[in-house]
């Protein structure tokens, strides 16, 4: 018999979605002077709520507020006091975790299982971790008295809206900086619920300002004269234009950009767990992950059986309503992204790759793409070179470790890679030669606030998390 799972939907009411969300500037929720935008639920394509966006004048106000807060309140405040605020924020995120998970799933389209078990708890962890740094800056190896940079302008993407906000805000605040942050235009809601938490935590006005808007607002923010530091996570294309705009200004910049991560499976790997890792590497968050393991490189001696077993496993993934607790793969975040993924898969088909998709039925509305495997890919194809940012895995084979390395490194990106072998010496040898900011050994997509994350080359520069991540928000003490 088959054990069919009855629908097990999380209650949307828990999200308490408001009719309208406002920018958070100088400690107040204020009407923005930009045009309203409609935030859609990707699982239905229907409007979820309305978000008031800011104008460039609002950004001036926000930056001025952040400057005042930085020089008068936040930077002079003692480390232990700043830490108290961050601990309070972390606890409030944990207390409202169920609400935040529902909000994130409704606004982003990712499964409730992921927001509940990953996005929200990890966001809280980032605040907890960085709260602990606030009174220990002298132990970062940056001299006896490292200084905050000042005001940070931050722009975050739509794939992990709340978590990216935590990644950006927590270290900046722990180091004594203040923040003006812009969420992605399709996912502003969870960070504006976070704003309620910041207000509830009595964070002094201006320490964090949240300015919703589209790309033009992001461009205006990152090139604002009042900033000392810009941190961006998003596409390589936008990252490059930010770097050009900031050239010569002397402002600090960190960029977390795209990737085309290789997952290298040797024939002596723990096969069943490698398959789990491949699945997690590319279908986690519908593959909309900058460090996704989007290229599978499998040793030719086991390739046929490995891919057959992989397909067997992918067939068990449940694609559907993101609010259902048993959904493994949810909706693509936007129509734009949905169309882009589709066109890249079509390009792969035209270039001669074999396209395989799971037979799991898809919901009739919303932006759903079934987990897809492209076999017979060659390194010249677009699908093997361009970031797809969707649930699409490209499969290639190799015969020797050198060939695996050459193929894995043959990309302008350098964000993530995975190595699967039961032999420790082989894993270490590969890890030292893979050009990637993160190399996972017998696992994939594992994140921890203590572990620095970031890329090389077209994947950007700078690290987030751990000691290195703190250094990106501090001026070393020259006396050191």
């Amino acid at each position: 018999m088959d054990l069919d799972y009855a629908p097990a939907p999380e209650s949307a009411a828990i999200g308490r979605i408001a009719d309208r969300y406002l920018p958070f500037i100088d400690g107040e929720f204020v009407e923005g002077n930009g045009a309203d935008l409609e935030s859609l639920n990707p699982a239905t394509g229907q409007p979820l709520t309305t978000v008031s966006t800011v104008s460039t004048e609002d950004i001036d106000v926000a930056v001025a507020s952040a400057r005042r807060a930085q020089t008068r309140v936040w930077s002079p405040m003692s480390g232990p006091e700043r830490g108290k605020y961050l601990f309070r924020i972390a606890r409030l995120i944990a207390e409202r975790s169920r609400e935040l998970a529902v909000v994130e799933t409704l606004d982003n389209g990712k499964p409730i299982k992921e927001t509940r078990d990953f996005d929200v708890p990890t966001a809280a962890q980032h605040f907890f971790h960085h709260a602990g740094w606030a009174d220990k800056l002298q132990h970062l190896g940056l001299g006896p008295d490292p200084q905050p940079l000042g005001v940070a302008g931050q722009v975050i993407p739509w794939n992990f809206p709340l978590l990216m906000a935590a990644w950006k805000i927590a270290p900046a605040l722990a180091a004594g900086n203040t923040v003006v942050i812009k969420p992605a235009e399709t996912t502003s809601v969870s960070i504006l619920v976070l704003a309620e938490i910041l207000a509830e935590a009595d964070l002094p006005p201006g320490v964090v300002n949240i300015v919703p808007g589209a790309g033009d607002i992001g461009a205006a923010l990152v090139s604002h004269d009042g900033l000392d530091k810009v941190a961006f996570t998003g596409s390589t294309q936008v990252g490059k234009s930010i770097q050009s705009a900031l050239a010569g200004t002397g402002r600090h910049l960190t960029l977390e950009l795209g990737g085309k991560g290789a997952n290298v499976v040797f024939d002596d790997a723990a096969v069943d767990q490698a398959i789990e890792g491949i699945v997690n590497g590319i279908f986690f968050n519908q593959g909309q992950v900058c460090c996704a393991g989007s290229r599978l490189l499998v040793q030719e001696s086991i390739a046929d059986e490995f891919v057959a077993r992989l397909k067997d496993r992918v067939e068990t993934l449940r694609v559907g309503d993101p609010m259902d607790k048993n959904t493994d793969v949810g909706a693509i975040n936007s129509q734009t992204q949905y169309a882009r993924i589709g066109s890249l898969v079509d390009a792969g088909r035209e270039e001669g790759a074999q396209v395989w998709t799971t037979s799991c039925p898809l919901p009739e509305q919303g932006w759903f793409i079934p987990p897809t495997i492209l076999e017979g890919a060659s390194p010249t194809m677009r699908i093997a070179r361009e970031e797809i940012f969707g649930p699409v895995l490209t499969v290639m084979t190799f015969r020797t470790p050198d060939e695996a390395l050459a193929k894995a490194n043959n990309t302008p990106y350098g964000l993530s890679a995975g190595v699967w072998t039961d032999k420790g010496s082989k894993a270490m040898a590969m890890a030292s030669k893979l050009h990637a900011g993160v190399v996972w050994d017998n696992t994939f997509n594992r994140f921890d606030p203590t572990a620095p994350f970031g890329g090389y080359r077209e994947s950007g520069f700078g690290r987030e998390g751990g000691r290195t991540g703190m250094a990106a928000y501090l001026e070393p003490d020259e006396e050191a």
Partner: protein, 312 residues
């Protein structure tokens, strides 16, 4: 893996090469997968269907030094009437007892669909001569049991005498005649997942109809990662040989929630073909009562106290 299973009987070298050649198991990855699947949310009609399926898979067990014919007869009565107030409650798969109680159980369950399973082979430690183990098995088989639950010689397995363990399973299988053979690996004593995978394949290749985790006398007994591993083994064994074999976790599964987590693993790791009492069993004593209580909760909408369900 090649097509078909090589002939491993009487050839210790082939057996060794085959078992060593199995893919290694990464504990972190295995445990993460098991923990993730355990978060499945089974509600409403699915929960009721899962409870009924789980009841029909229970090997209702008593394996105590204090067992008596009266206690075994009571247990058999419980198997025939699991919930006196609700006659449509499914019957458990079998009653599992010691060999000297086999005759009582066979008589008590005669004419019913409930099978009789007997442990044998110097259960639970398995520390005796092969003659004694075979005699133990014959005692149960001659009483008319349907299934034999044997233990492997863990000492021999851990010291690398895989050929010996293989041979002993074959001998017991032969002594079983028509009875189906469940091979208890005692996974808690095998210590590593690699060992458990090798022991699973060894038992399947030697002719075990079921691979079973534990005696219930050693902790840890059945755990979800171990069950994942064994379910993967029977799935791969069928892919290789075309023969389907069963899995039985035993020990430590006491709640409906635990049982449902196991069924989720059966469906998603091995596949729906194994969601059948012929291919999956729970070795348990107190689980049945919790399943009955939860069944009433689902059908009648209120929680029942433990005192409304019979204790045997």
């Amino acid at each position: 893996m090649a097509s078909g299973l090589p002939d491993l009987a009487g050839d210790e070298d082939s057996l060794r090469r085959f078992l060593i050649g199995l893919p290694p198991v990464d504990p972190v990855g295995l445990e993460a997968r098991a923990a993730t699947l355990a978060t499945r949310s089974i509600k409403k009609q699915s929960k009721l269907a899962a409870i009924d399926l789980a009841i029909s898979m229970v090997d209702l067990t008593t394996l105590e030094g204090a067992d008596s014919p009266g206690k075994v007869a009571n247990l058999c009565r419980k198997a025939l009437v699991p919930d006196p107030g609700v006659p449509q409650t499914p019957l458990p798969a079998a009653v599992c007892i010691y060999p000297d109680m086999a005759a009582v159980a066979v008589e008590s369950l005669a004419g019913s669909a409930v099978r009789v399973a007997s442990v044998a082979t110097a259960f639970p430690a398995g520390r005796s001569s092969m003659e004694v183990k075979l005699a133990d098995t014959r005692l149960a088989v001659s009483a008319g049991v349907d299934e034999i639950d044997m233990v492997i010689d863990r000492g021999a397995f851990l010291s690398g005498q895989w050929g010996l363990v293989f041979d002993q399973i074959q001998q017991i299988k032969q002594a079983c005649g028509e009875a189906r053979l469940k091979v208890i690996l005692e996974t808690g004593e095998l210590a590593t997942y690699d060992n458990i995978r090798r022991a699973s394949w060894l038992a399947l290749a030697a002719g075990g109809d079921f691979i079973k985790t534990s005696t219930g006398k050693v902790s840890p007994a059945a755990t979800l990662p171990v069950i994942h591993l064994m379910l993967q083994a029977v799935k791969d064994f069928r892919a290789l040989t075309g023969e389907q074999r069963g899995v039985k976790p035993a020990g430590g599964i006491r709640s409906t929630k635990d049982a449902i987590r196991h069924l989720v693993a059966v469906g998603e790791v091995a596949g729906p073909d194994w969601l059948d009492p012929h291919w999956f069993r729970f070795g348990a004593s107190s689980l049945l009562n919790d399943l009955i209580m939860q069944r009433r909760t689902q059908t009648e909408g209120g929680y029942w106290g433990a005192d409304y369900v019979s204790i045997d």
